[in-house]
Every structure is written in structure tokens, then in C-alpha cells.
Amino acid sequence: MPPAIAEATPGRAAAWWGKLHGFGPVVGLALLCVAGTLLNAEFATIDNGLNVLTRTAFIGIIAVGMCFVIISGGIDLSVGSMAALIAGCVILVMNHAAGTIGSPVLVVGLGMLVALVLGPLFGLAHGLLITKGRIEPFIVTLGTLGIFRAYLTYFANGGAITLGNELADVYSPVYYGSLLGVPFPVWVFAVVALAGGFVLNRTAYGRYVQAIGSNEQVARYAAVDVDKFKIITYMLLGLCVGIATLLYVPRLGSASPTTGLLWELEAIAAVIVGGTALKGGAGSVTGTVVGAVLLSVISNILNLTSIISVYLNAAVQGFVIIIVAFLQRGRR
């Protein structure tokens, strides 16, 4: 690709690049899809598309929450461990409740409630430590990254926490079921993304988040309750992690110490590839969603072909991330 740029006249090239800036992730995704179709005709099938979107749902939903945190100038390194711990707790609660509550549907409902409560609760802890405790978000969440995973490993005794068979059957449609031919996780992902986009662009809270990330001091002078909105941001991300876990648990019906490993980096990569600045201030939910899909598409294409040595998969992903980031690089 670079030689083609060199041949173009400088003026035209600059204009071309200017247009590309905001569309980097979309262009990258489109190019990848073309490449995928050329490499394997099965890539362009609806089934494969739905597979990819469904598996993107976890990271995508988390990434939407992460988008808010990063825009506000923060970071959360713990989301993978948090998702794993919530998944483990949900399964433990459900297995335990199955003994006392007769109706499996009620038990599953209880489990889902646990996920939706635990997530924001962990987020609240992060937010309080970061704002009232005045510890760097990087450090707080680096700490909880270890704490969450260690507790999961402890609860699981190092092995796997597995959902009882009957409960797994009742719960599994949440992942495997579909509405109008579209799997539930994709619907949930879409709803979370739309809600995220709405909150970020159309509400006062969204504007405050961007203001805080852009310049915290100025936001304070403008009488924005910075601490409160930061805490809400981490709680929102926690809620997103909880929602993602709701969809994750029915997939395999188990949680183990390897669950959610490196999800934090995937979520952060999705946000950044999607055009949000790591230093905060500006970003978009749409870009984040495209970024998350893009990351899944890369590994999907690699699985559908065997032209590249399996040892180089991670390298291909790295190259694509860097190229897309290059395509959408803005004025710094």
C-alpha cells in the first residue's frame, strides 16, 4: 500500500488522507472483509457474519463502557479479571440457589441479577479509590486485576466452576437463542452500543465526561462535579462488564482462571483502533464498535485460512491494529 501513496501527487494525497482520518476503522474493516471474501468464500456468508458478531458481543459491550472511561481520561485494566470473577460468582450463586429455589428460571434470573449488581459495585470501588483515594486509575485497576483473578482461582480451586446441567439448559438460549434470525448477544450488543452513543452525544453526562477528559481543571472551574461523574463512568463500565458476563456464562457454562484473559487489552485496543484518544477528551462509540468487530474479523479470517503460519497469528493482529491506527491518526 505505501508505494501507491508515494506515486500520488502530494496535494491530492493530503486531501485523500484528510478524508480517511475519521473513517480509518471503517476503511480497515471494509478492506479486511474484501480480503476475507477473497481468501475464503465462506467468509461472506450470513452464518459466519453472525458468528463473528456474536463472539464480538462480549468484548464489544465491555469496549463501549471502556470508551467512556478512556474519554474521561481514565483506564481500566481489570475488566477481563472482573468478567471472569463475576462469571464465577454467578455460577456459584446459581448452583447454590438451585438447591433451595425450585424454579430453574428463577435461579437463572437471580444469577443475572447478581452479575448486574456485582459489575457496578466493582466499578464503584474503582471510582472511589481513584477519586476519593486519589490513586492513579492504572494502579487501582492493576491491583484489582490481580485481586479479581486470584479470587476466581481461589473459588475454583484452580480448576473450573461449572454450571449444573439443568441450569445450563435453561440458561443456554440467552447465548444460543435468536430473535428474527439474529442471535440475542448481537441484539444486546446493538442496544448497549446505541444507548452508549446516545448517552455520550445527547446527554449532559456525556458532555461532562468529554469535558473532564479534555481538561479536568477547566471542568472543575466550570463547576462540574468531576468526582461524581468519574465514579459513574467506572460504574457504567462495571455494568457493561456485568452485561457481557450475562452473555458469556451460557456459552460454555463454566468459568476458569483462563476466562477473560487479556480481554482488557482487547477492549482497550477496540476503543483506540476505533479512533478514541488514549489521553482522553474525545472519542466515539461507533468507532469503538467498528474497532471491536475489526479485531474479531482478523482472528476469524486467520481461522478460515491456512496461508499464514499459526505462530504468526498474533503478529498479523498486531500489524492490522497498527495499520488501522495509522489510517485514522488525527492531528496531535
Binding site: 456468508t45 459466519n48 475454583a156 484452580g158 480448576g159 460454555l252 463454566s254 482462571p257 483462563t258 491456512s306
Partner: protein
Amino acid sequence: MLAMAPAFAQAKKEVLGVSMPAATHSFMAGAVYWANEAKKDLEKANPNIQVIVKTAANASEQANQLQDLVTVNKITSLVVFPFESAALTKPVAQVKAKNIYVTVVDRGLTDTSAQDAYVSGDNTAFGKIPAEYIAKFLNGKGNIVALRGIPTTIDNERMDAFNAVMKNYPNIKLLDAKHGNWNRDDAFKVTQDYLTRFKEIDVIWAADDDMAVGVLKAIEQAKRKDIKLVFGGAGAKGAIKTLMDGSDPLIQANVSYSPKFMYDAIKMTGEARLKGQKLPANNIVPSVLITKANAKDFYFPNSPF
């Protein structure tokens, strides 16, 4: 042994240090479980021995623990399951240089002069036994896909052994082998994509019981009927239970690679040292084919693995 104890009452107590990776996945959890079982059994049977089990989260932490075992705990013998072969070779050699008896388990050192004895599972058999079983199952004709573990020498050994057998069956096609990283989630995704890509698959060699969980879910979701066999491996208790109950027609056999070798290594080392003996230099715990007939011998419901 107990009868001999009084004669050694004045003798220096045998302090056996055990150093191994922490239980971050179910196989290692099983190994840690068996290490603690060995400690229990050894200390109960021999008042003259103390067993100290340490687990490490990474190679450098393990190297630190080895130093502590020598200087603080004053161990007289060591059973070590190295986190990484190359990185732990020097630290282990330093332990041995202090006249401490060293048994190395599973992941070998790059310099075998740093050890007195070596105990391991049988990675060649881990690839060979499923290959032979699958070849027979398919009557020498059919399509296979494979899942591999995390890219390591162990994974290569297994894959090479598998391929070596399959060379004798030109009509069996190995369509592809991708890394599922011994992880349920990754195996699920890789299998989904295999099922999209290949319309006729007879057998999936999941090469690990954790990965087999993800493989089975992906098959179930895609409602594919062409797959007749999913061969896992390592004999996790869930997989063995399924085999015993015959509850999944796709699961018909397994190959043992039990973390119990940790138990054997500690017990053998402890007992030999108490008698002042040495272990044979190489001890391979054989991997064997597990079918419904012998599954109950490999079922350990209390182990986390």
C-alpha cells in the same frame, strides 16, 4: 518403613521442597492437588520427612522460591516442576550444586546435568494414541481437524507424534491444525470457524479435555451431524465422567496424561531419599488409552482436574 523410623530418629530430618507453577488452569490445579496429597501421605507414613510445597506465578518468582527453599527452609531434596525449561535451568543447577537431591518433573531442563532424576508424562504417546485410535475408528479414511495447545515444545512433540502415525494413512486428511491454546473459549471460536470452513468433518482431535468442552459446544450450536468423534485428552474428571456414563456419543475415548505424576515424583523421591537411594535417571509415566472399560481407574472426583 515405620519400623525403620527409630533407627533414624537421631538422623537429620529429610526436608523435601516442592516448587511448581501456581494453579492458574485446571491441569496445574490438579498437579498442585496431587502435590499436597503426596505431602499428606508422605508425612503421615514417615515422621522423618517434612514436605514444603511452594507455587509460583512465573519463572522469576519460582527462581526466588528456590533460593528461599535452600537458604530459609534448608531443604535436603527438591522436586521441581519448572515454569520454563530454559529460564529455570541455572537456578536449579545452583540448588544441585549445594548437594541437594533434585528431581525434575514434566518440563525438562535444557541442561540435564542440573538434575538427578526426571519424571514426566508421555507426550509422544499423547499424540500417538489418539492418532492410532482415530485411524482405526475411521478405517483409514476420513477428514480430521485438530486443535493445538499454546505454541510450546510439548505441543510440537504431541503434534509430531500425531502426524507420524497419520503418515501411514494416506486417505485420512488432516484438514488443518490451529491453536486453541488449551483454552475453552479459544477452542470454541476455532471450532466455529472450522465448521464454517469445512463441510465434511469426521473427527475432531481436540487434544485436551478443556478444549473439548469448547469444541462440543460449537458442534452443538452449529447442529452438525457429520462429526462422529471428538477426542480430548489428559483425562480431566469431567471428561472421564462423561466417558463412564456414556452420556455423549461423540466422546468415546481419552488418553491419560494425569497431573498425578506430581504425586508419583514426590513420593518416589521422598521414599528413595529416606532410604538413601537414588531414582532412575528417567521416569516416564506412561500415557494409556482410556475407554469406557477402564475409565473408573482414572476417575478422581476430589481432584480439581
